[in-house]
Amino acid sequence: MEMAGTKSRLTWAVNLTVGFLVLLWIIPTFGLLVSSFRDRDAISTSGWWTALSASEQNAIVRADAPDSAKPDGDAWVITGNVSEGEGGQITAFGITSREPVAFAPGEVATHKRGQQITVEANGDYRITYPEKPSGSRGQRLFVRAEAPPSFTLDNYREVLFAEGMGKALLNTLTVTIPATIIPILVAAFAAYALAWMEMPGRALLIAGVVGLLVVPLQVAFIPLLKLHNNIGIGKGYLGIWLAHTGFGLPLAVFLLRNYMVGLPGEIIESARVDGASDFAIFRKIILPLSFPALASFAIFQFLWVWNDLLVAKVFLGTGEDQAVMTGRIVDLLGSRGGDWEILAASAFVSIAVPIAVFFSLQRYLVRGLLAGSVKGG
């Protein structure tokens, strides 16, 4: 009984801790998600957490032009609605920027030029001019309105249906898939050699791989592009696959070797005794057992290539047949940036595929096929 009690209390504690951690981790992203459904003005004037509830906002609305006033008895009148039928309760209004909330709905304000202005709670306004007014510049009405939560799909529409986005998606996949698979293959063999084959200078090679992890990509661009140009690859898919393979390889070798070195030596030894070649051992024992490590590296490499813009800009051409999604999205933003609503929507558009990859590979992040006998790295 007591055992069970402790256990369930512990389970509760675990659930709560994980819940708290998850909350902490997704709140920032959630803010972006909410923002992706808001328009730019709303994003830069109020916090995303306020978007979920009705809020009181001050707004400036321009009434119809004086030219359009219609005669009404002796006076000339313009009528309309400040919210254009979108609802929202007016709680105060004003007619100058100095006193934007001087009047309650229904009260009559008199402009210094003589016209009388009133705004009703439902947003209907009425401007009465004593004489026929002229001019095309409408009167500004300042209102404080109870605005219902307002969301828009426009940001997503703009990103998803942008010209060339479908083609760009295809291009991105063309870059990403080989750039994920090739380094895994190359690295897996190298990792096996570094983990289980006797050779001189092994430790130095391992250290070298760690050292190469730290090379900032920026320094590699010019010499490599020069090289590609000299050997005739130029800018294109082949070049970017090779580049991503090179840049991803140190991490791949490092992760895989460390996983493989933790695999049980007895199995490998007994296979050797049975006369299996290294190639056979690698294919039949190491690869299946290393699936969790292969899958996790595949996830990271996929993510990195998927979200990359820099390497693509350098090693791929810019024409339509080679433009990647990240590049198209940057094109949607203005030259001076700051279109946060588009950034937010595109972040969620581009996260969809990596998350799907993560989900589909997540089930491979489990015990190796020979569960139980693996002792972990």
């Binding site: 801790t17 951690l21 430790a203």
Partner: protein
């Protein structure tokens, strides 16, 4: 459609090419040094000496070409001025005297201490706990999400956290300041706060890297054999004891891997600082300083390259640590 065909066929050719290389090169090796006949003994020895290099060759070629060669040319560049003439160690002496460089070095060391530790810790906690609950894989995906979000997305996300609006500039759109004001405090321009702004930037990287640590550690935790755990459990060990006394020692190697990888990421950290502060208000780091000199306005590859060499030098202790780990494994 053509392109899809092209992509698919290159994938097939590439993958099969790789596999074929390994397969046939091995067969060839066995033919050249057959493990039978009069010289069987020496042949086996010879083949065993060569085989690792067959396995390593493609990786070494790619690494050599795509990373070692650029590092070498960077070193050469670091000894040159903007016009490409040799100036010896002048760029390095300039570095030693540069205030921004010293500031960056100090900040980088701070990053190196805090970020790998915090990310690994949170990753371990997340991996250890999500393993035990029903909605574990959902929780993992959510914690992993920051990793998957594009960098531009992440920078907007944190703008909505750290943003500051002064008095009369309207309501706060940064969550942190909204909370502070909600609690009755006064808003603050967080990213200009001396020293602490570094921490605020680090939080972003920790937030991203925890997902990485979690995935790797979770795979390692799942690799621990159930029998050991079962046995300990029957001996009456509490779950906490099992975690700290049995699981942690077994995945120690993986923790080292995660720590190393995040350390290296920290040395290269550039995007976050670039987008949030561009190194102002005392937040400069080496990689951003390097970028400034290499690509800003009038590029000075010499100075930029000298900074890169310093970054590479900083990783040496981690390399040495990994060599000694590798020696231990050789048993």
């Amino acid at each position: 459609m053509n392109q899809l065909l092209f992509a698919v066929s290159t994938i097939v050719v590439g993958v099969f090419g790789c596999v074929a290389y390994f397969y046939f090169s091995n067969i060839l090796l066995d033919r050249v040094f057959p493990a039978k006949g009069p010289n069987a003994g020496t042949n086996i020895n010879k083949a065993n000496a060569i085989r690792p290099w067959l396995f390593l060759l493609p990786a070494l070629l790619v690494l050599g070409l795509y990373l070692v060669y650029p590092v070498f040319s960077t070193f050469v560049l670091s000894l040159q001025d903007t016009r490409g003439s040799f100036i010896g160690g002048e760029n390095y002496t300039w570095l030693a005297g540069d205030g921004k460089f010293r500031e960056s070095l100090g900040n980088n060391l701070l990053w190196l201490v805090i970020v790998p530790a915090a990310s690994t810790f949170f990753g371990l906690v997340a991996a250890g706990l999500t393993d035990r609950i029903k909605w574990g894989s959902v929780a993992q995906s959510l914690i992993f999400m920051p990793m998957a979000i594009s960098f531009v997305g992440a920078s907007v996300i944190w703008k909505f956290i750290y943003d500051y609006r002064g008095e009369n500039q309207g309501e706060q759109i940064g969550l942190l300041n909204a909370i502070v004001e909600g609690l009755g405090g006064t808003a603050y321009a967080w990213i200009t706060m001396p020293f602490w702004n570094n921490i605020f930037l680090m939080i972003i990287l920790i937030w991203i890297q925890t997902g990485f640590a979690m995935v790797i550690l979770s795979a390692a935790l799942k690799g621990i054999s159930e029998e050991t755990i079962e046995a300990a459990y029957l001996d009456g060990a509490s779950p906490l004891q099992i975690f700290f006394k049995i699981k942690i020692p077994q995945i120690w190697g993986t923790i080292a891997v995660v720590w190393t990888t995040i350390t290296v990421t920290v040395l290269k950290v550039f995007d976050i600082v670039f987008a949030m502060t561009n190194g102002q208000w005392g937040t400069q780091v080496l990689a951003n300083l390097m970028y400034d000199w290499m690509f800003r306005g009038s590029p000075d590859f010499g100075r930029g390259s000298a900074i890169v060499m310093v970054i590479m030098l900083l990783v040496t202790p981690v390399m040495i640590w990994n060599i000694s780990n590798a020696h231990k494994e050789n048993r």
